[in-house]
Symmetry: C2
Subunit: 223 residues, 2 copies
């Protein structure tokens, strides 16, 4: 039964949005476990991962079928190719959340570091907002919104560098903190990777909407 | 002028292979700089990155044009979709090499750690072999070879964990080593990510060849 492309496009958008909300929740839960020193949110990370992994396969198959069935050209084809790429990024964001959750589990088995979690909660919030806006830009084909995501990536990098330096100083001043500080460094790096994936998504949105590849120019402009 | 799909497929394979050889060389050069304590190889990393980034855009455009022009189905379509995904992985392998190169530059500005580089050269060699074989499997549509790549990923993870633990102990026993040991930890993690990308490529090859999605089953099997 033939349906209009707009209809199947709408379904694909919804599936990507749902997958994105699961991935975002995984980041939220992993960092919640860290901040509140609770194991319970970490269990939900593992549950969400299974769902994200199943969606990852579903979305790829759906996109392949759409290309084979509709033989789309120009904008419609670029939309599906963008969906395939975004699908990979979302799955990898889920992997980052799993890494954060695993490191958090190790950290919870040890006494809390006196030094606060620095800007890690802020890094998580920024990365989640970037992810949400990049997907919002995807479904609305909103290039201006996608560009705001690109602009925020430098802030995330800056926060990661600051956390990195403070934690290294802490390790140098007190060897008993090394293992825990290293855990936080790795978590900061995971969050930076989440922001990188959101940036990739925003770049794919711009490519999809304009048929222009801004990826490596954007990187150059950001230094 | 219409050409047979096999012909354009061959060109796309060659372009991906060339891009892969550049990415592999970037890893080799970055680790060579680290092992031999020389800055010169690091300059070539930056040069290769520009070429990889240009190829990244070219390959994506070529794939989009191929789909629009040939409207391929089944195996041919899966081949092009695999090429699009492999293209992203190669570009990100290049990014990992750039990260290794930047960390190496910092390490070269400080006295060499007494402790050797542990298994970092071996990790680099393993990751490079995995990358080479995954691309070889892609062009030959060789599922058995792709499966050997998946099997090797656990070894890379093991080497990373060992390096990680030894370096943490070193930091704990001598605070003056913290910054340098942390640099090596980050490099070990970059190499692990290169092996992950090679694993992604091998999974895409199996999907392309068999029309079967083994991705998350493979992850489950590997623990």
């Amino acid at each position: 039964m033939y349906r209009h492309f707009e209809e199947v496009e709408g379904e694909l958008k919804n599936q990507i949005l749902f997958m994105g909300s699961l991935a975002e929740e995984m980041i939220h839960l992993a960092v919640q476990g860290l901040v509140e020193r609770k194991k319970e949110p970490l269990c939900h990370v593992a549950q969400n991962e299974e769902r994200v992994n199943r969606l990852h396969i579903d979305v790829d198959n759906r996109c392949l079928n759409l290309i084979a069935l509709y033989q789309p050209a120009a904008t419609d084809l670029r939309f599906i190719i963008a969906a395939i790429k975004i699908n990979s990024d979302l799955e990898r964001i889920g992997d980052q959340a799993v890494n954060i959750s695993q490191t958090t589990e190790l950290l919870l088995s040890q006494p809390q570091l006196e030094r606060k979690l620095l800007d890690i909660p802020r890094m998580a919030e920024l990365a989640q907002n970037m992810l949400r806006d990049s997907l919002d830009a995807f479904v609305k084909k909103d290039v201006a919104l996608a560009r705001t995501v690109l602009a925020r990536d430098a802030e995330e990098d800056q926060l990661k560098s600051e956390a990195f330096n403070e934690l290294m100083q802490l390790m140098q001043s007190d060897a008993s903190t090394i293992q825990r500080a290293l855990g936080l460094i790795l978590i900061a790096r995971n969050l930076e990777r989440v922001a990188d994936h959101a940036t990739n998504i925003a770049e794919d949105v711009i490519f999809m909407a304009l048929g222009q590849d801004i990826r490596h120019h954007a990187e150059d402009a950001a230094g």
